[in-house]
Assembly symmetry: C2
Homo-oligomer: 421 residues x 2
């Protein structure tokens, strides 16, 4: 058929999958019905070379074409792109696990924040931690993420709130990405909270005049937490406009506890994503659809905050807004980094179909961090990032909630889990 293929040897062939979910499709964030199409190849295989995907197809065929490649037998498991966790705050020191007991006793997340706990407590610990301490903590968390199937992670700063520590966090994120198989995408979130001992107007000015220009080389995106205890929609607009002038891609934390209008502001500025969105008007969702702004939903947060207020994913999908999923992994409002659990919560709490949840946690998540040309689907030329799950069918993912179904992880064409192979 195509005998020339034998001259083009593969480094690695993953074969014998129950299905390979390629997520191949149109070159845009998937919305509406498109989110149902996983591009499944029954009995499929994936050939990789030089870290990239050469070809996907039927196992029988690819086994012949790439007879000399190293082999990973998927043994009837499900093969899909590695999870892309497009919203985390992974670089931090200290622990806030005691806050759960406070919340079980009735305090809200915003109560704890307003009392100087929450983000402020993590800021305190992160300022005190050394570069190497933070790096070791980050690497340990990235190992655990990898074991649970995540192959790319966005990391927001925002636990420094001064130039030195914000810089340290962004540098640690980048260094951890170089030292670990996971790809890291850093985001500057200086506008995470107003630090103790300053006032909000002075802090916003400092962000715009000093921090944004100084950190430009360390972060591809700028994000703002628009919320009652954080920044107003007007401040959000000022910061994001300045960030845009400095060449940052734009992101926003919008509508987590209250709808201050940030999703609309961000969409109006062409933001890549608006995130959380538990509270958001239909008008803003339509703005997001028109600007191609991805809705990044984080169901682990209301789950952990003892809330039953989840983002209305069904309405977003009906309106044609592209939906992505992230964990929001952070020490306070979601200390879980499992994208598998995110998929389960998306189905059980936001009534997403499993297909939609998989699209949202792979290719659409890659769009939310501008990596869709390179990650998030198994298509020739893209990076060879895939996982083998110990299930035959996608319907098992929400059913096995709370368990780790990952059997193998391939990152950039290399088997990274199990560790020795």
């Amino acid at each position: 058929m195509k005998p020339e293929r034998t001259k083009d040897p593969a480094d690695l062939l993953v074969f014998n999958a129950s299905k390979v979910l390629t997520l191949a499709g149109p070159d845009r964030p998937r919305s509406g019905e498109e989110m149902q199409d996983l591009g499944a190849i029954p009995g499929g295989a994936v050939a990789m070379r030089g870290g990239r995907i050469l070809e996907t197809g039927a196992s029988a065929q690819l086994r012949d074409h790439y007879a000399d490649a190293k082999r990973l037998d998927a043994a009837g498991g499900l093969v899909m792109p590695g999870f892309v966790d497009c919203h985390t705050h992974l670089v931090y020191a200290g622990s806030r696990e005691n806050e759960l007991a406070q919340r079980l006793a009735g305090a809200s997340y915003l109560d704890i924040l307003a009392a100087g706990g929450g983000i402020h407590s993590t800021v305190h610990a992160t300022r005190a931690a050394s570069y190497e301490e933070l790096t070791q903590l980050a690497l340990k968390r990235m190992n655990q993420m990898l074991q649970h199937g995540t192959t790319t992670v966005e990391i927001k700063s925002g636990y420094g709130l001064d130039l030195e520590t914000e810089k340290k966090i962004l540098e640690v994120a980048a260094a951890a990405g170089r030292r670990h198989p996971l790809d890291v995408v850093p985001t500057f979130l200086g506008a995470h909270a107003v630090p103790r001992g300053t006032n909000r107007a002075r802090y916003v000015n400092w962000l715009i005049k000093e921090a944004l220009p100084a950190l430009r080389g360390l972060s591809e995106f700028c994000d703002v937490f628009c919320e009652k205890e954080a920044f107003t929609a007007k401040e959000t607009g000022r910061i994001l406009r300045a960030a845009k002038r400095h060449g940052y891609g734009l992101k926003v934390h919008a509508g987590q506890f209250s709808d201050l209008g940030a999703a609309g502001v961000a969409a109006g500025l062409g933001a890549v994503s608006a995130e959380h969105l538990e509270n958001v008007s239909e008008a803003q969702l339509k703005q997001m659809r028109n600007s191609g702004t991805v809705a990044v939903l984080l169901p682990g947060v209301p789950f952990f905050l003892l809330s039953e207020r989840y983002a209305d994913a069904r309405r977003m999908i009906r309106l044609g807004v592209p939906v992505a999923l992230g964990t929001d992994f952070n020490p306070g409002s979601c200390p879980s980094f499992s994208m598998q659990m995110g998929v389960a919560l998306a189905c059980l709490k936001m009534m997403m179909t499993v297909e939609e949840a998989i699209t949202a946690s792979t290719i659409n998540a890659a769009w939310a961090i501008r990596r869709a040309d390179w990650l998030g689907s198994l298509e020739p030329g893209k990076q060879g990032d895939l996982i083998v799950l110990d299930v035959q069918d996608i319907s098992s993912l929400p059913c096995h909630f709370g368990t780790n179904l990952v059997r193998s992880v391939v990152k950039a064409g290399q088997i990274v889990l199990p560790p020795r192979h």
Copy 2:
């Protein structure tokens, strides 16, 4: 100090824990404030010989006393008894993962059951499966459970509803227990549903006159599903009384969807446990307290059934009813077997403290299957069943919901995870 110990060599020493949670305490199911006491030994160690626990204590001390023992370095992780999953339906064939899509489309669990799906669909597949097929399925699930920290599992029959298949399920459960490190405790649940093609009165008579005497040697407990689409409280009482005469320990599925009074009936007969209990009157809870009947709560079920109606654990603990946790692992209403997830749901959905949830999933779960003399705590003479978790403190358990924190598993004094050591 006690030099004679050097003449008493240990086979295995687990040391260097952040804490060893011994769960040592009074010789009865723990209730009320007792559930808060985990018997923690900071910097602890556990010495085992011949499959049993010799001693627990400080690492420094035990390391000297048992200098010749094989060592497992807990490396600052948390050591606790292996989880005891005291309510599962692990032996079955077929899959019902499609039912989630039906439920997302609006059908209830009882709708699906009444339409001949649900349990009936599993009965069909389980009758058709061979002894060896069922055994292989069971062993695979037990491997996954072990990887998630469960070291003992109760397994209910009830997917046969005829003598041949009920017998097959109980025999498979016993055989799987012999072939696998996990301990298995089999329970006869012929009264799981009225099989298609018979009537309820005839089936109840058959259970009492034929099944109970025939299966006595294969099952230690008899259980009844008292519910609208299953058996009435009166039928439940008849079946349990007959079971008691035949020497079975008694269990009951009570109040899962509606309170038919089964918890009170079972408590009146001295049942070991009443299970589910989302709907149960205070009077019945007081009967349970007085009879020492353990409340086995299964929060994975409402979570997976898209319900927010969880058992009122706080009321039970306040009333002095001993509370245990199980997964209810089964193909329909809870296909997850993670006790770690059960602990997280107990905290986040039933407002149990982490301490209560750990007591409930170890020593109290052992009481619920009459194994507390042998399992569920780390006390001298008991079986050496423990897990090492990759966290320093118990507060991390609910925080890391959906991830697998298990680093090592020791069963009967042997390291069974990681597999080769």
